[in-house]
């Protein structure tokens, strides 16, 4: 098998807070194949977005840094790349769309200009060519009357339309990877479905790999082949989406799936037991401790969970889990 | 996490003071201000030279014949003038600030409390006063109605209340929608009591900060007027010393630099205190 498109190995990201250095990502490894779609799942504050920003080389300056591990993209370690090289990659080979379409576009430039700008920066297109291309892209993300709307300002568009503009901008240079950080959280339910359809269609057409960040299990099932469940900066469970939904090994994953009743094929006793994951994500102070960080909320906790961090165990199908009781679940 | 000791609730004044005391430049400003005020109050008694007397040869440089700041073009003791000028500057600064705060708070409070047509009219009046160049306007008032100290105070106060009015109105608009105001409104509290007993105290922090700054700008304002000669000829003030000596800067630049420095240091001290108050009273910054 050829090398994966993106290979993250033992990544550790440290955040400097007022009185401490906290590992917000702690020993995370995963791979992304070309044309594959993978989803990061977990509650807010568990490090999903940090991972995305690290891949983009956009960790907050002076606060966050990659402490160890590597991010190999197309054979090149991005954690070692120069700022200039990263700038070449950003928006060109790897691009990203964000959670807040309302504020993610610059209010004082037309959407056409904001799309054309990427093309000029990376593809060396001239003013006119970039603008024409921007029109085509708007059309491709199904904004009606693209020829006219291209000279609209963001405030003249709805939230769903703005997110389409963001997608057009991200896909302008036909990137190898598109990172979508909760792209539909801020949108209406009906619009959410349209955006997912659009992303799926575009992926089929362009062959772009997608990294989806979400806390919505429904979106995962719709968008991705594989998923990574994150908890408190650590990978809890990695595997095929169908397999995990069918047979979740980590108690946290079980809890998350139970939160979304409709993806369970059969209504079972499971649903009765756990309609939400009780408790809250541990505070940053707890991060990095040598124990299972989910223990305080876990229904099957034993003494060992509080004494030692669980190792990652992988079964032959590539389904891995970090839980002392992972096998018991099966 | 749970074994942190429970903190006792403390007076907001003590808390604000502790915040303020932590700000070194604000404390320095406060000390300077206290010294200047003491000088203004007790100075003339301790250094009884009459600022209008010709005591020595004109244009004697600082230190000459024991005159620390030297003498001006009429041979008057510059130190005595500075000390007596401090009184005028501080009194007019304070009094004019009080005038503008009273006008500004009243207009801002009425506009923010009653909304509707009253707000519309009052804010139009405020804008009208913002269009008139303040110094020119007060020059006109002083020129038409005479340059007595009360008139100068009034002239400065009348032209500089607009900022206070805007801030007060904004605070009232914000606070009047809060639950505790709604609650006491629902329980039938009278409007006057709502305005001055319930909303105003909570609107005070930004008004206090603005008031501190107002004193500084009123002192600058008075200095400008008296520099132009629009002042009571029977008293000495810092701006007036500069104005009357400025033809002689070639011979005696200190007659201009020293009083200017006095104004500068006083206003600087006030604005440092204002910044300190801002940090201490602004709850948004409190937790940092």
């Amino acid at each position: 098998m050829s090398d994966p498109l993106l290979k993250v190995q033992n990544l550790r990201i440290e955040l400097t807070t007022r009185d401490d250095v906290v590992p917000v990502i702690d020993d995370l490894s995963f791979e992304l194949a070309a044309q594959e779609s993978i989803s990061f799942v977990g509650e807010s504050g568990c490090g999903k977005s940090m991972t995305a920003l690290a891949i983009m080389g956009l960790l907050p300056e002076k606060i966050g840094r990659v402490a160890s591990g590597s991010i190999i993209f197309d054979g090149e370690d991005l954690t070692q790349a120069s700022e200039d090289r990263l700038r070449e990659i950003r928006g060109n080979d790897i691009s990203m769309i964000f959670q807040e379409p309302m504020t993610s576009l610059n209010p004082v430039y037309t959407v056409g200009e904001q799309i054309a700008e990427v093309l000029r920066a990376h593809q060396g297109l001239g003013q006119q060519a970039a603008w024409t291309m921007a029109e085509e892209l708007l059309d491709a993300v199904r904004i009606p009357n693209a020829k006219r709307r291209v000279s609209d300002y963001p405030f003249q568009m709805s939230g769903g339309q703005r997110q389409r503009v963001m997608i057009a901008m991200a896909l302008a240079c036909k990137p190898k990877i598109l990172i979508a950080d909760e792209p539909t959280t801020a949108l209406d339910v009906t619009v959410q479905a349209q955006i997912f359809d659009l992303l799926n269609d575009l992926r089929r057409q362009t062959g772009t790999s997608i990294i989806m960040i979400t806390h919505d299990m429904g979106a995962v099932a719709e968008m991705s082949e594989r998923m990574i469940v994150m908890y408190a900066g650590r990978g809890a469970e990695i595997g095929g989406v169908d397999e995990i939904i069918e047979k979740p090994l980590h108690p946290y994953t079980q809890g998350l799936i139970a939160c979304v009743p409709h993806i369970l094929a059969t209504v079972s006793a499971e649903r009765e037991r756990l309609l939400e994951v009780p408790g809250i994500v541990p505070s940053l102070r707890e991060f990095g401790k040598d124990q299972c960080l989910f223990a305080s909320r876990c229904p099957v906790r034993t003494d060992i969970c509080l004494q030692k961090r669980p190792p990652i165990e992988t079964d032959p199908s590539g389904h891995s889990v970090a839980c002392w009781h992972g096998k018991d679940a099966s | 996490m749970t074994d942190e000791p429970i903190q006792k609730a403390r007076s907001p004044f003590i808390e604000a003071w502790e915040m303020f005391a932590r700000n070194r430049s604000a404390v320095a400003g406060l000390i300077i201000l206290v010294l200047i005020s003491l000088g203004a109050v007790f100075g003339p008694a301790l250094y009884p030279t009459d600022p209008f007397d010709m005591v020595w040869a004109p244009f004697s440089p600082p230190g000459d014949a024991g005159f620390i700041f030297g003498t001006d073009y009429l041979g008057r003791d510059l130190l005595a003038m500075i000390i007596n000028g401090a009184r005028v500057s501080l009194i007019i600064g304070l009094a004019a600030a009080v005038v503008s705060i009273v006008i500004g708070v009243t207009i801002g409070a009425l506009a923010g409390f009653y909304r509707g047509i009253i707000e519309e009219i009052l804010m139009r009046i405020t804008e009208f006063f913002q269009v008139l160049p303040t110094l020119l306007f007060s020059m006109v008032i002083v020129a038409l109605f005479g340059a007595s100290l009360p008139m100068i105070t009034l002239a400065i106060g009348i032209v500089s209340w607009t900022a206070v009015a805007r801030i007060t109105r904004a605070e009232f608009l914000r606070i009047r929608e809060l639950e505790y105001v709604m609650a006491s409104r629902a329980s039938g509290t009278k409007n006057a009591k709502l305005m001055f007993r319930i909303i105003l105290p909570n609107a005070l922090p930004p008004i206090i900060v603005q008031s501190a700054l107002m004193v500084g700008s009123a002192i600058l304002f008075e200095a400008g007027l008296s520099f132009l000669g629009l002042t009571d000829p029977n008293v000495v003030s810092w701006g007036q010393i500069i104005g009357s000596n400025r033809q002689y800067i070639l011979d005696a630049s200190y007659t201009v630099t020293i009083p200017g420095l006095a104004i500068f240091v006083t206003v600087l001290a006030i604005s440092l205190v204002g910044d300190g108050l801002n940090d201490a009273l602004n709850p948004k910054l409190r937790s940092r």
């Binding site: 950003r90 928006g91 964000f98 610059n106 405030f155 901008m169 | 008139l132 160049p133 110094l135 206003v267």
Partner: protein, 317 residues
Amino acid sequence: MRVFYAVVLLAAVLVLNFSLMHLAPGDVADTISQSMGGADQEILDKIRADYGLDKPFLVQLGHYIGRVLQFDLGHSFFFNQPVTQLILQRLPATLLLVISAQILALVLGVVLGVYSARKPNSIANYFVTFFSLFGYSAPVFWTGILLLIAFSLKIPWFPVAGMRDVTISGGFWIQFWDVARHLVLPMITLSSIFIALYSRLSRATMMETLGADYIRTAKAKGLSNRQVIYKHALKNSLSPVITQAGIQFSAMMSGAVLVEAVFSWPGLGTLAFQSIIARDTPTILGILFFSALVVIVGNLLTDLALRLVDPRVGGRK
């Protein structure tokens, strides 16, 4: 709408002007009689009748506004000239001073503000902090005198006073250069207050803007730092600064009075000063009116500038 409102404001200034004139002790008749060296009651009454001063307040106000509409602001007894003519002679000098100081303050303020927002620990940042304290606390006329002592008396780089050197004659560029040399110190003096204000403001808005989501987007696009800052962040930070500049037009006119007095700049401020000393009421009120006019026009121009910078202002369809 804005223009209509501006006209209403101007009318309000006229009413205020007239009321002030009415309230002030002494009237035109007194002034005239003084300049004649005293007059008896009969002559005073005749003058009052001639000038319509015996009519009711509102009638007089109507007459006054009617005259102003014909650009007649009265006659200056001190300068013995129509007030309008007098003011129009002096207005260009003040406009030159105010506009050039405004431009200098905006350019320097924004440059300093942006620079110090990017480098919070740089010298520029301390400079902005220091400068804003100085600009706020130092009386502007004192700053002017200090500059005058330093760069005109001690080091004779710039002329001491006035706007032109009467001994210099020549083509346009020679004259231009002459006025420019005279302008430098007054312009710097007047802008010193506002550089402080604008740099502080643009530093604050720039820092806020740099944390905005669309700046993250711009970085994620792979744009260069320069583009992120000067294209995406700067244009967004400009609106508050321009708004503030509009508000400050009035303060600029006030400051100009003092600066003109220091440098004997032959503008409205000097005229105001002279006419106040001479108790020349029509001229004083005329100047107040024209200053308000300048401020109102300045505000309208600010609105236009805001529309250029921010498409959300002014409701394009």
